[in-house]
Symmetry: C2
Subunit: 343 residues, 2 copies
């Protein structure tokens, strides 16, 4: 029996960016999908997640994951609906989550997708209840070791990871200070998310304002951006400070070592004299087995309104490259997802 032909719309890596990605690094293609074979399902993408780590996959520098090859579909997590199933574990109409990439359809053998856990909106599986939320939670709890009364700083505080980090810190009794770009985001972080303060990194007196917002120093700096926020944080670190490190968006586009001065010796000296711990992590590699713990903590907080979140929804797969480029420049406001088809 032959399937009705399905046309897949997909975005592939056309070329590797040097510095910031441009629209020319991506190419939209339409290709016919092959027939399903036994055990396979045909998926229709509903929401595609756009995340900073994808910039790393566009380069072939050594990293924790293999790069996307030229001509290959861009990698990415998504929520999809099962359109047809030749796999007894999945029924037509089921919602599933998996790294199915930047495309309207995909074929899967059922081994790299999981049924969507119960949640009010499917896109939450890509944000507060998905990879970004779990990154926030595990890095803060396991490496950050938060203690009531301490001060936490997190950048990109209105974003998918930072917003959760600060709200969980508040739940744990810490002072939470955010850093974000612009007055609108800062207002949202304080008024909606309940952070104690939020500093605009575009301010001319950024370092000074951050210091004022942290009168007792910094015990946890949750690092997800790098760059000048890190520089302003280092002098404020308290003895025994912890720095979970999950991302460095500020330097993802760098393609050569910046000119001096060399800031490494100052950092090393601070690590030594203040007995600081800094630790990089990749959430599913390091904490994959703790997803149930994460969901059982986070789902009630979200349900009870203790952890709020905001989504920045872009319509149409063809908008993904431009939205992604904008995210690397901080133009999104909240977790960025692409609505690829109606949910």
């Amino acid at each position: 029996m032959s399937d009705p032909m399905t046309l897949n719309q997909r975005i592939v890596l056309a070329s590797r960016p040097v510095g910031a990605p441009t629209p020319e690094n991506f190419r939209l293609e339409r290709v016919a999908l092959p027939d399903l074979t036994d055990g396979q399902v045909l998926l229709k993408t509903v929401y595609l997640s756009l995340d900073p780590y994808m910039r790393g996959r566009m380069s072939d520098a050594p990293s924790y994951a293999a790069p996307v090859e030229i001509g290959e579909v861009m990698t990415g997590g998504a929520v999809s609906r099962v359109e047809r199933s030749l796999n007894p574990k999945f029924q037509e109409g089921d919602l599933v989550v998996g790294a199915t990439g930047w495309q309207s359809h995909s074929i899967n053998d059922g081994r790299s997708i999981i049924p969507l856990p119960g949640m009010p909106s499917p896109s939450m599986a890509l944000g507060v209840l998905g990879m970004p939320g779990m990154t926030a939670y595990m890095g803060l709890m396991d490496i950050g070791q938060p203690k009531a009364g301490e001060t936490l700083v997190v950048a990109a505080a209105s974003g998918a990871v930072g917003s959760v980090v600060g709200q969980v810190a508040k739940i744990k009794g810490l002072r939470a200070v955010g850093v974000a770009g612009g007055a609108d985001k800062c207002r949202y972080v304080v008024e909606e998310l309940g952070f104690d303060a939020c500093i605009d990194h575009k301010s001319a007196n950024f370092a000074e304002e951050l210091a004022k917002a942290c009168p007792k120093g910094i015990d946890i700096y949750y690092e997800n951006v790098g760059g000048k926020v890190f520089d302003a944080v280092v002098p404020l670190l308290n003895p025994k400070a912890r720095i979970p490190l999950c991302g460095l968006i500020a330097s993802y586009n760098a393609h050569e070592a910046p000119s001096g001065p060399d800031r490494l010796p100052t950092l090393q000296r601070t690590l030594l004299t203040k007995r600081v711990r800094i630790q990089g992590f990749i959430v599913f590699d390091d904490y994959g087995d703790r997803q149930p713990e994460f969901l059982s903590a986070m789902a009630p907080w979200v349900r009870d309104g203790k952890v709020k979140f905001r989504e920045d929804v872009v319509d149409g797969l063809e908008q993904a490259p431009q939205a992604f480029i904008g995210m690397l420049e901080g133009r999104n406001f909240g977790k960025l997802v692409v609505r690829v088809s109606a949910d």
Copy 2:
């Protein structure tokens, strides 16, 4: 009752060094000690320990400990003999350990000295069974988390800390690779201490030789020097590598940020993509309560010859400044102690 006057010979900080210390930064003084009052003991220094951290105390840059003030006695741990006692806890002739400084005599109220634990030679309380040995042990065990079959690298491998780190790593079943300055030290590290390899950091092909000595990468880099050893190590780090950081002798004399390129972003990227943990520590601040655990592990190893050590003994307090300056240049060979009086 008046004591017979005791003349104390002491070395004070005459001026703060800019860059490497010179003999002019120190001054030898002779002063009469006051009479003992009730509860005090008069101590005669037997062995004075010289350690890299003392360079930090000569500067008034912010650090984990207050600086030595100009005109004050240089700080330092020592083994002393009780000469006179007006304290019921100490008897004339007792050997004690404490941070009594660079001087021939001192007066103590008994609260900052402890009786010397039993050991074959009193100077061991300043080395393998003292602060350097405990620094080696705690940093390796607690932050390094060694696992049999892994590869460890440690610099200053013939020194007081590095020699113990590598030998304990061997006891725990790791491959131990040392770094030291010169063929004599490297030979000693391999032939006497039993490291698997030792690379001369003066070699023109240092980074390449280190890579060859670590065919399976580096799982633990015990950092006690900083500088170019660190640079050669970073590209060899395995995923989930651990870096206990107890010293940075290579940069102690630096008095301004080195010119570029800026090596910090590369380090941050490595920490992230390889999920590396780096953590500074100060042994008595972080692990002071675990000294019994340390001694109960280390004393038998030393007794059974599983952990060997070497001392570099200099005679006479007046030699301390030159010996200390030489140590910062790597001219000592083994744990550096000054024999201030006969033991």
